[in-house]
Amino acid sequence: MGDEAAVQTTSIASGTRVRGSVVGDGDVTIDGNVEGKLAVRGDVTVGDSGFVSSSLEAVNVTVSGGVDGELRATGHVRIAAGARVRGTLTVEGLSIEDGALVAARVECNFELPKELEGTGR
């Protein structure tokens, strides 16, 4: 494929199923199924036909498919229209588009402005 310095993006094609753990460095695109743990130092894109359960840890995450379980991102999570997300989201930033189905507990890591501090954390 002639990719020089760049690490090839990992791609789990639709029709592929991984049962176990996927860890490491680099971006990952999932159009298939990952059952188990996915933890990478990179960005994860879950495509329309992709499905990840039960834990996903990454920098930035874009979901158009399904995620069921614990999602942790040190960056931003974008849940696109058509996505189905269930579980817990622990993120730095989050956006949910019209049409997405989300049933999750969300924890965003941010500081409350001083005026609101003390109103129960």
Binding site: T10, A13, T16, V22, G24, D25, G26, V28, G32
Partner: protein, 104 residues
Amino acid sequence: MASTIIGAGITIEGEVTAEEDVIIQGTLRGRLSAKESITIDQGAVVEADVDGSTAAVSGSVTGNVTAIDRVDLQNGARVVGNIKAARITIADGAQFKGHVDMDV
């Protein structure tokens, strides 16, 4: 044709089953079964039995390599395990230890 590519920085521990091609550049421990071709690139480390329609190996495999059509061990390949396929090539520079079964 959508290939599954396991990049160089990624380690998978578990079972991978694919409907199409699989290219491994990273590390896989467990089992790999593909309906189409399997390519294990130079630098890849596979500790697993792999089976596909064809297998082309340039990296390291500790496990059995089974293919319906053919297995090609290329220069740089290091395979410890058994190979089973209808056609097999082992290139100069490939290292191999195991049994070869061409179903004769």
